[in-house]
Symmetry: C2
Subunit: 252 residues, 2 copies
Amino acid sequence: MKVLIVEDDPLHRSYLTEAVRTALPECDLVAEAEDGSMGERLAREHRFERIVMDLQMSPRNGIEAARTIWRERPETRILFWSNYADEANVRGISRIVPDGAAYGYVLKSASDERLRLALRSIFIEAQCVIDREVRGMQQKSIGRLQGFTESEYEVLVDIALGLTDRVIASRRNLSLRSVQNRLQQIYEKLGVYDRTETGAEAKYNFRSRAVTEALLRKLLNQATLERAEQDLQDWLRRHARLLGTAPGRDGH
Amino acid sequence: MKVLIVEDDPLHRSYLTEAVRTALPECDLVAEAEDGSMGERLAREHRFERIVMDLQMSPRNGIEAARTIWRERPETRILFWSNYADEANVRGISRIVPDGAAYGYVLKSASDERLRLALRSIFIEAQCVIDREVRGMQQKSIGRLQGFTESEYEVLVDIALGLTDRVIASRRNLSLRSVQNRLQQIYEKLGVYDRTETGAEAKYNFRSRAVTEALLRKLLNQATLERAEQDLQDWLRRHARLLGTAPGRDGH
DNA sequence: AGATCGATTGCGGTTTCCCGCAGGACACAG
DNA sequence: CTGTGTCCTGCGGGAAACCGCAATCGATCT
């Protein structure tokens, strides 16, 4: 059995290596990669099926790396090992997990014991292990009790990228007005409307304010934006001629 | 001599403690705090004059903690110890350093040797030590070769917070038109104007796009926004009645 | 003083956003 | 079939953003 560790911080890397060695004595090879792209390469070339992966690395963060690894071999078992339990990260991960894959999500603040247990559960028993706090997030975000519809979230990302209503409409295959309806729901849920006394002037530009609210509440984060920006640029290239030749105005 | 270490990650904390002990044998007390507010409290109660501080902690990140510590005792020597050299962090720090204070900024990727050297230079010789990469940032950002004026940066932060042109004008004591001029310069410098072929429809909402560009280029980051949001809320409270009673429309 | 350059401000006009209103499409209950 | 709900859509208008043009003010150089 062999395990790949993808983690940019040398201290954490050696700590992980040590933890793996003691938790999995049957493991005869522990390899290390110090960023996402090196992780992808090693996983591909040496067919690692067990990976411990840090989120937030650069270049190429853990989610991106995991996505391409899982695309190539969906049965790979990945344990995510991260500082935070943002909604953005949780959502990002549950969006890329292949059906039936074994994976885990444990926080760096967890005890050695918890880490050891997670390692054995995932890598030996092929069983998912997700930290309590993270589970909490999942309930909130997927159960959308307080959270966002998938389509609302997409539109939120789009305005965060700075797109116009029109482009969002064409990207998401909606009418202009529907996009604006989504926006209003978003503004509502984010509480962008100043509830100051009557008659006070609007303090905020709703569109921009919604984005910062989302950032402050950690619905979005820098890494998410970077990924989304990539997707956007791809889409733009594919649809360049569509948009370019699109008459836009249906004629005077 | 005594040293305070403020760092939320236990691994890094113990590494730092060890580094301090070997680099400064004349040091007879090394204390540890695991977030910004605890750091502030310990510094205040035990009058630490030498501090090693992580940026990015929560709650209360390194910059905020340093600001209040320096406000209370400007002669405190602080070594910042961080993963990244964002423009946002560098700018944030150079904005709060008191005149003549000794401080340092070294990256976590630096060698043990560099760290040891920095510890001795700052804590013994009261001499500033700033990593190469960080220096580079300072040139770019303060020398504004490619960077932003202080006032442009302020306006950038304001639109990132989602404020209206009108509110920005009143907050920064500018005319509406000046704010808009600032904005145009910002759009220019961030390259928000799509340079696609002629006639293509505008893809972006400039205002929102500028913010994401700034985030992607790491001119801004979440922590900066949180701080700025605090300041904004304070300002709003102070000026509530000004804005509220402002007639705005001279009314019919 | 005169010239020149930059920064600031006001005046329009165009575009985009924001959103109330109302009509249509589909589902589901009675 | 008729009510009631939710979702999508178009219309229209008011407000904000965006931006070219031109007049003003201040600072610096000759």
